[in-house]
Symmetry: C2
Subunit: 201 residues, 2 copies
């Protein structure tokens, strides 16, 4: 059976960077945005729309790419969400069966619970997350600490709501994880290199 | 400056065993019950009484060992608690300055916060904690899972209350820790040996 590590993370904590480096260090496959791409292929919905559903962003346009007949309003949206959840479930299970891997987000810790993944939650102090985000700021993102803090809180609230609705568990509650890592001020490279020892056999 | 690791833990999670093994693996000094002994020496109160204060057990007897004159009731108890807290503060700071060390409990993570200790919280699933406690059961302790679970909850509630009152923080909230470790079903020896890599320079 393959070894599976799932990583859930607070926005701005460096959880994705942590996950990628851990996968590299262990020589495991790494899955993150690839999962959205695969869901899009399975459901014939656009990646952007799928992302808006899993990130709970408002979506004003109906996201039809090809070939769906309309039933109206909520029923149709519900049906699409179910398609996304169902595709996500199948794809994550397939990936997990294929090889040792690190999977970021997508409720993978819950979806794979019967395969006993090692479940990591990555978090950090708010000041650190804000500073980190401002340092790596892209166009269109807030350019000051107060606004970035608001954004982080909003994004994490969305993540939490998606996770809680989907799993019936509480996002970030340590009892659902094997290890919770505070990345505040860590030297990521050295940290991952050392922590990876836990998984080497 | 010495490296300080503080360990807070849920009752039955194996946190103390984890702490002792980690200290051994790193060649660090290890402090746990020794702190109570030293507080007793400093305050001239009995170790048993000090333990009852820090564990919040009811104490029906006035715990005077030697030489105190009575002022009555609450004032006296308050004064004694302050002596204990004050001694605890001084002793833990002294120990932390002396050498690299692992310190279990006693709000050391909070007391030493300006020295930037590495703060670990150890926890586990309730079923695992109960099974572990029953396996290591001593005379007088509950002999069935339901009663042991009640005891664990009571003891942790006391720990939490002591910690929360003393620190103004929330016991077990991951944001006050650098690493939270779920010990459910781990191989403790192998785990500690690997995790210790994080602290080796």
């Amino acid at each position: 059976m393959s070894q599976i590590i799932t990583i859930a993370r607070e926005f701005g904590s460096g959880g994705r960077q942590f996950a990628r480096k851990l996968a590299e260090e262990l020589g495991y496959d790494y899955y993150d945005k690839e999962i959205l791409t695969q869901i899009a292929e399975h459901t014939e919905l656009s990646e952007e729309y799928i992302k808006s559903v899993v990130d709970r962003k408002p979506h004003s346009l109906f996201p039809i790419n090809i070939g769906h007949s309309f039933s109206s309003g909520m029923d149709y949206q519900l049906q699409q969400m179910q398609s996304i959840f169902s595709a996500q479930f199948d794809i994550i299970n397939d990936l997990a069966d294929k090889s040792n891997c690190v999977i970021v987000g997508r409720c993978a810790d819950y979806i794979l619970r019967e395969k006993k993944p090692y479940r990591i939650f990555v978090y950090a102090d708010m000041d650190y997350k804000v500073a980190r985000c401002l340092e790596n700021r892209k166009d269109g993102e807030p350019d000051n600490a107060a606004d970035y803090e608001k954004l982080i809180k909003k994004l994490d609230k969305n993540r939490a709501q998606y996770y809680n609705d989907y799993t019936g568990q509480t996002w970030g509650d340590k009892k659902y994880f094997d290890l919770c890592i505070n990345t505040t001020n860590i030297d990521m490279d050295a940290y991952v290199k050392n922590l990876a020892q836990l998984f080497k056999k």
